[in-house]
Amino acid sequence: MSEDKPHISSYASSIWILLALLLLTIATVSVTSVNLGPLSVSVAMFIASMKATLVLLYFMHLKFDHKIYRLMMTIVLLLFFAIIILTFLDYSFRIK
């Protein structure tokens, strides 16, 4: 099992991820100046999700861990999306 062979990330890869996170943060801030209407929340959530994915994969070592952890994380994310979708079945279809 991969957990028996600990993985040590290189400084270079950590710095690349850090740069990517900073760029995505700039994107989050920049996109607020564009009027995207109802899509603005979706775009902000999409960028935030990308940042969270990078943190999970590289800084929290999910990419290098045993696949059972990735599976568990995927299940949690699917659950999260299902709950969001079901909740918005209420908010999106309410009679104004």
Binding site: I68, V76, L79, A82, I83, L86, T87, L89, D90, Y91, S92, F93, R94, I95
Partner: protein, 525 residues
Amino acid sequence: MSTDNYVNFFQEKQGRKGIWTWLLSTDHKRIGLMYLYSIMILFMVGLTLGILMKLELIAPGRTIMGPQTYNGIFTLHGIIMIFLIVIPGLPATFGNFFLPIMIGAKDVSFPKLNLFSFYLYILGALVATTSQFLPGGPPDTGWTFYAPYSFKTSTNMFPAVLGAFILGFSSILTGLNFIVTIHRLRCPGMKFMKMPMFPWTLYGTAWIQLLATPIVGITLLMVIAERFFHIGFFDPALGGDPVLYQHLFWIYSHPAVYIMILPAMGAISEIIPTFSRKGIFGYNALVVSTMAIAIVGYFVWAHHMFTSGLSMVAQFTFSLLTFLVAIPSAIKVFNWVATMYKGSINVQVPFLWALSFIFLFMIGGFTGLVLGAVATDIHVHNTSFVVAHFHYIIFGGMGFAFFAAMHYWFPKIYGKMYSKTPAIVGWALFFIGFNILYFPMFILGLQGMPRRYYDYLPKYASLNAVSTIGSWILAIGFLIVVINLIRGAIKGPKAEANPWEGKTLEWTIPSPPSLENFEEIPEIS
């Protein structure tokens, strides 16, 4: 095994003296028993509050308390019964005691974390009950802490909500411990599909504890933030949405119903085959239905909110999903009945509790369909019909399964046996009292009697009086059961290691078990 040198876990002091052999022990069995005793004491408190509420309702008008006291009592009754008894109920007591033994392990994966969970439970219980005695008066929102009232009432909401928040952490840590234990400590040969049903249901429950409880934790923090900092999550005056609170609360609290009922189903799935002297019918179907309940149970929460102004699309979707979750539940009932079919039935006390569980759970389940359908739900919403349904599922389900498990595993825990006759008399009074107490509430609800009122119209008087008398019968049955168990634990006759001829691992070791459960880790062929 030589009985001369055998030291059971009660006798094993681990270098400690007196009360410290309990309070500092990381042995999963002692922790399970500490939960058991705490839960039984709190159950007596919760039951007393329930009886007082029924006494108030014996006749129209004020009898023994006014409306504010009644509101405080039903809130505390709900908090104690839900957060302190039925949610930790079977996992924390019998789960802690028997999960490691049933999978062939010496303890849970994180014994110290297990003890920490117990102390969080005690801390949460103290904080929540303190709210009753501080200046400001007992909280009066009901156990659901619905917004916007929960951040506007002048009563002691903060300690009650904080107590529930702390209890949530206890639940999360127990769930985490069980998941890791099941993944990492199963004995050689015990594949997932060879695990007994009780550990399987604990596994499904643990996932719910781990994934759903944080949501209510955050929600309760949001209520506290709303109350003290006026942020505007739920307050319409600040642009918030009170229905959002209901969504967040029920996203946890409906799966919490499955935290309560899944381990109960697991215990029943152990008891029925043992006393039918047959293997469980449809093991694979039971495993799949357990996980299906755990998964689908996440997606039905808004059936609690059909009258809250949900969109029609949401009402339709959640109604459909609610009906879907009935399918795996029905599979379980079918499998229990099929297990008994052509079995060599051995009618013992745990079996009677298990049979009454199936009967009461079925009534609770069928009346749940009335509440899952939007049209009929709107008719009976917030009436005593809901209270009756809920108690048939939770008390008739989890409560009866708890006592079934108690009578089933009692000889293994204490190495002694209780008296059979008082146990049967106690069960019969408990069962009869339960039905006299709760069944009239279905009729009252259909006639339109609202829940959570200390008073009612005179036309509801006779059925309310019957219901109150039922609460007294139930209480007498409960006392007989508990006294008989205490007497059995203190001076009951010595029990055999396997008095019921059970097939799972806990019945292969002496009673009470030793500190490390097994001399050698067993191998499953």
